[in-house]
Symmetry: C2
Subunit: 417 residues, 2 copies
């Protein structure tokens, strides 16, 4: 497939202040230029844990997941990570038996270099799908990368896994976890697409806290609800989505390993992890293709939290709502439509709808006091909040999306020379 040429400008929604990520004990990283697809930029990342790290992961729900995802999912139960290999430019997805051999070859090489078992090596690939990937260059680069890997330039790592992202995504939290100062660093990529591939969301998070793998998995699975599972750019789910978390246990403190959910550190750590993941997830939405507005959808008053999430996602994924926001139009009629089509309980005559602090509709009709001019000014802001109260119960949810602009269509559909 031929490549398209599109002028790339940095998303207008990129974070103005970039967080400085501190080095984190127990993890070393190196990047390299494998030239898989891109020229003159790093596209390969090798993460090395010199001592076994705890590991947790959540992956795409796609029924056609990639072989990399399959390998990671199967290896999780072993609970130990010694290395992670990530490449950008080719997703090695839908590449048949050949693709499986490529995954195995990379995993085998990395295990060999690090003196690890194959189920202690994790792998992720992002980029073109359906193109066979030549692993030879990766295999020849890994030994040197393992030697020169250091306690890391996280920003460089975030850059190496980008595809059509317009900015690298990093986040960090440093906090006192019941007497011990610990760090969580995370990187993510997402919303990038180059023909003929699809959006792939990858994120790798490392902490120096000492946490058992099963506990780490429990924290990660909970924290993903309000972060990566609460965002949508275009409702399309990749075959390769991967979020992995590692804990090295190398923080300076001397507290024992966290092995129990009733440990008071569990909730302290979980809250910080949730905040960091939400931070990264929002950066992904802010880099959504063609995005000019970040949309936060808050649904309250649904019969259950699940019902609220279904309604919120129906609003966040509606092309008509998303184009209205692109047009800076407070089109609450389309919000009613999206509530109605969600398929869960709702009553037209009980709905209340706000855009920002402006109430536009109440009791099933237009708010008589709503001032179109004020709302019009609000709609020009970069961050738009849509709030809907269903009026039936206590269920609530919050999700994020971005607007649907002509640039989205251009990036994904323009005729390519």
């Amino acid at each position: 497939m031929k490549e398209r040429v599109i002028a790339v400008r940095i998303s207008p929604l990129y974070p103005k202040m970039r967080q400085e990520l501190p080095p984190l004990s127990g993890v070393r990283m190196a990047t390299a230029e494998a030239g898989i697809k891109y020229k003159n930029r790093a596209d390969l990342l090798f993460i090395v844990f010199d001592e076994p790290a705890s590991v947790a992961g959540v992956f795409t729900r796609s029924k056609c997941s990639s072989t990399s995802v399959d390998h990671c999912r199967e290896s999780l139960s072993h609970g130990i990570a010694k290395g992670v290999v990530v490449n950008a430019g080719n997703a090695n997805a839908f590449t048949g038996r050949k693709g499986e051999r490529t995954t195995k070859a990379i995993v085998h090489a990395a295990a060999d270099i690090l003196g690890a078992k194959e189920n202690e090596i994790f792998i992720a690939s992002t980029g073109v799908i359906g193109e066979p990937m030549d692993e030879s260059r990766i295999l020849s680069l890994l030994p040197d990368m393992a030697v020169r890997a250091k306690e890391g330039d996280w920003l460089e790592a975030a850059r190496a896994i980008m595809t059509t992202d317009t900015f690298p995504k990093v986040a960090t939290r440093r906090f006192n976890c019941c007497g011990e100062v610990v760090i969580i660093n995370g990187i993510a990529k997402g919303a990038g697409m180059i023909a003929p591939d699809m959006a792939t969301m990858l994120s790798f998070v490392v902490s120096d806290a000492a946490i058992a793998s099963d506990i780490l998995q429990s924290m990660l699975s909970e924290a993903v609800h309000g972060s990566f599972n609460a965002i949508t750019v275009d409702s399309d789910t990749s075959t390769s989505d991967t979020l992995m978390m590692f804990a090295t246990g190398k923080a300076k403190g001397s507290l024992p390993r966290l092995t129990n959910k009733s440990d008071p550190r569990y909730s302290v750590f979980s809250e910080q992890l949730g905040s960091l993941l939400r931070d990264l997830a929002l950066q992904v939405v802010c880099d959504g293709e063609g995005a000019r507005h970040l949309i936060e959808v808050n649904v309250t008053g649904a019969t259950t939290d699940d019902a609220a999430k279904t309604i919120a996602m129906s609003i966040a994924n509606s092309p008509l709502v998303k184009t209205a926001i692109a047009g800076e139009d407070a089109n609450w009629g389309r919000v009613v439509m999206a509530v109605g089509k969600a398929g869960v309980e709702a009553d037209r005559d009980l709905l209340t709808i706000w855009f920002g602090e402006y109430r536009l509709a109440i009791n099933g009709e237009r708010d008589p006091d709503y001032n179109e001019e004020e709302v019009g000014a609000y709609m020009k802001e970069k961050n738009i909040m849509i709030r809907v109260d269903i009026g039936l119960g206590g269920g609530k949810a919050r999700v994020w999306s971005c607007d649907l602009t002509k640039e989205y269509v251009a990036i994904n559909g323009d005729y390519r020379s």
Copy 2:
């Protein structure tokens, strides 16, 4: 809300040959300019059955359906139709108690004029939502319309119910139904949107056959699966979707009324009805906002027909698939993605994918024989067929969609002066 100004050109997918609809005994129609929103064009349609007609209907599944839809749904069980009032320009949806009074006033007036009960009058409104609708002009026009209504100019009727449709949608079938020549005429509108409303699909179908209402309902409910329930423009479901069918029993033949599903006429009539509804439904997709390509998605080999439909709709609604078709790009990787995210059983390594007659992928990888140049030429055609074989069973489904172009975003999201 202010109105946007957009240069409207007729969809490039409009049917080159328009079907001439014959007069149909037992139904009279009149149109008028009520000026609800549009100027200098008919926007009101009154359909009159001088003798009670059988009636059937299917309506939006929205949980926030309009009061017009509610009235029709409740009136169906009575099984008799004497009149139908349809207006374009205001959907009278999400207009609270005031909106309910408007619906009741129109129904009451029409019943009065035609000497009918209120549950023998059906009503549909399409256009802006959330704006109170002034019914006074409609009420003053109806008496004269009832008088001058005649055995109809169906094209004029189809024009009167348009909103942002770029062409009127009509279809007809005339056939021998086991010894009796009968006619089915149908009109539809859809894919039109004007801020702040949403796509509303309306369709009215009349036959001169003699068919009991419960049998008509059974035929309509079956036929809708392969037609109106098998199309999507943007996955957004209106609060007002209405498809109604009437049978006047005035065909020239002398066969008895059809009252039984085992009557051989049932399947003959059903087949023709299915064909007519598919015809109208495809016209709606061809007028999908900004559409430049009609997409037919054929899924075979799924575990069940329902699973096949879920997969087909996942492909047909995927923004990434739809932008790829707009870009004339045979992006089968995005088809794999859409199969994977559908959530029903699929096996990556068993998928086979064709665009038109060109097989692009087989056994989980790119077809080694696929000729990019030939496929590239095919992708420039107006009608694109995507076929996916899941390789698991005998379930199959066929649905239609259109591509997602910058014009769609412009129509629904451009900043309005």
